[in-house]
Amino acid sequence: MLEQVNLVKELADKHGRRRDSLIPILQGLMEEKNYLTDEAMVLVAKELDISAADVYGTASFYTFMDTDVRGKYVIRICKTISCSMKGKIEVLHTIEETLKIKVGETTSDKKFSLLETNCIGWCHKAPAMLINDTPYTELTPQKVTEILQEYMKM
């Protein structure tokens, strides 16, 4: 808890305590942990002297600011048509089988979360996915298995 208090203060010192500092602060929190806890949002509200409802209202608007528990590595596989046309479904099944989770779920060790997302801008190298901020493109079941194995070692 104390750790979080300090982190919020640190982020506020860096980005300021104005309303337009809110999103950079929340994004800073997301970098530490892949989701926003209720406690963290209340702390941010106090730090910026705005209502916690405002903080939650803003955070919950943005798809990438998760308020549900997420794993250390969040996989977002593109669900737009161009990726579907290039074999996204087989790649998705491979991820599900490898991690033993379905879309929307998190592994029990809290290491991986699997989500779908809209176009991430790699249609010419479809299918594509993000793991946290890193894009992976031209995926095949074999390629995605190798990528996941690397992350499992980390």
Binding site: R18, R19, D20, S21, L22, I23, P24, L26, Q27, M30, G57, T58, F61, Y62, T63, F64, M65, K79, T80, I81, S82, S84, M85, T117, N118, C119, I120, G121, W122, C123, H124, K125, A126, L130, D133, T134, P135
Partner: protein, 386 residues
């Protein structure tokens, strides 16, 4: 008649000395710069196509000590990926365009709003920004850039939603008027331009308005960067002169079996094979922010439509009823027709609903859902029903 009418252009990615262009341009009067951009005929490359020179002119005319230039790098339209490539390859030209705009309109601060999906570009852009700031200092031009990130909301590509997001709020579009040129970011006069548009202003300042004006057609001057994907052996990014027909485009990029091209992404138009010949890609025909998706005859246009409607249902900000409920009902509607629970005449009702959304929705998102919906349903009715 091979694809001779398809002319490759190399303006956006051409390696140029930005410093030299700025040295020359920042010494000019704002009115002269604006006149050049007006004379070039450049229209916004994000999709909406508002004349860039007019935008700058209106912002410049505002009497306000604080004004902003914003670079819209929230490239979210399905099938568009050219801005990512531009920012990755020629960020200096993008920032250079912002410096030129700052001179033209009288702004001292510029914001770059980058979509969260492109966060991997941040280290590179920050590094480039430092170089840029040093250059501005040397040139004694009072202008600074700020980088802001989106967080996975398509709607934030809409200009007023983007302002709300920079201001630290939910990205819900505002009512217009007032337009950004009078009341934009933090309520100040703001010119918001797409990544590609800003780079073109640099090239117009380098080569002159005439050079750009000579390319393209009366309604669509110059060239444009296209993001080509789908059923094509040549997926990728191409800068082409505007004014080609879809037929020419398909000759170049198709796989020999193209049945439809979706021009302009989910919010754009679907052009079926029978209309290839007569449809011009540009503001006089089907406009595009760059997204060009080809579908061959193995594809179900129902799946394409369903994918787009699912996209809109998720990305509608939910603020206004026509868009929020309209998107849901269009999606549920085509599903019901497909399952046979509704007869085919129900599609006509849905087309009417899409028409209502066009008139009644608050922003471009809800207003453009009907583009793809109508053009797919009307051209591929049997695929939707059976």
């Amino acid at each position: 008649m091979k694809s001779s009418a398809l002319k490759r252009v190399d303006l956006i990615f051409e390696s140029v000395n930005v410093r030299e262009i700025l040295d020359k341009t920042l010494k000019r009067k704002p009115e002269e710069i604006i006149q050049d951009v007006l004379d070039s005929g450049l229209r916004g490359r994000g999709g909406a196509g508002f004349p860039t020179g007019m935008k700058w002119k209106y912002t410049a005319a505002e009497k306000n000590a604080v004004k902003y230039i914003v670079c819209n790098a929230d490239e979210g339209e399905p099938g568009t990926f050219k801005d990512r490539q531009i920012l990755d390859e020629v960020p200096r030209k993008v920032f250079g365009g912002m410096a030129i705009a700052s001179k033209a309109i009288g702004a001292k601060i510029g914001y770059v709003y980058l979509r969260g999906e492109y966060k991997f570009l941040v280290p590179k852009l920050q590094e480039e920004m430092e170089i840029f700031h040093a250059m501005m200092k040397e040139m004694k031009h009072d202008f600074r850039l700020e980088l802001r990130l989106g967080s996975g909301a398509y709607i934030c590509g809409e200009e007023s939603a983007l302002f709300e997001s920079i201001e630290g709020k939910r990205g819900e579009p505002r009512n217009k008027p007032p337009y950004p040129t009078t009341s934009g970011l933090f309520g100040k006069p703001t010119s918001i331009n797409n990544v590609e548009t800003l780079v073109y202003t640099v090239m117009i300042c380098k080569y002159g308005a005439d050079y750009f004006h000579k390319l393209g057609t009366t309604d669509s001057r110059g060239s444009k960067v296209f993001s080509v994907s789908g059923d094509t052996p040549k997926a990728g990014i191409y800068e082409l002169e505007l004014g080609m027909t879809v037929e020419r485009f398909v000759e170049e990029f198709g796989d020999g079996d193209t049945k439809a091209v979706q021009v302009g992404g989910a919010s754009g138009f679907c052009v079926p094979r029978k209309k290839f010949r007569d449809t011009i890609i540009g503001f006089e025909g089907v406009p595009t922010g760059g997204s060009m998706k080809l579908f061959n005859s193995s594809r179900s246009m129902y799946n394409v439509l369903h994918n787009y409607l699912d996209f809109f249902t998720e990305e509608s900000c939910g603020q206004c009823t026509p868009c929020r409920v309209g998107c849901q009902q269009l999606l549920l509607g085509v599903e019901a027709v497909k399952r046979g629970e509704r007869n085919s005449r129900y599609l006509d009702e849905l087309v009417k609903l899409a028409g209502t959304m066009k008139i009644a929705s608050k922003c471009g998102l809800g207003q453009s859902v009907g583009n793809a919906f109508k053009s797919i349903v009307e051209n591929f009715k049997e695929e939707i029903i059976y």
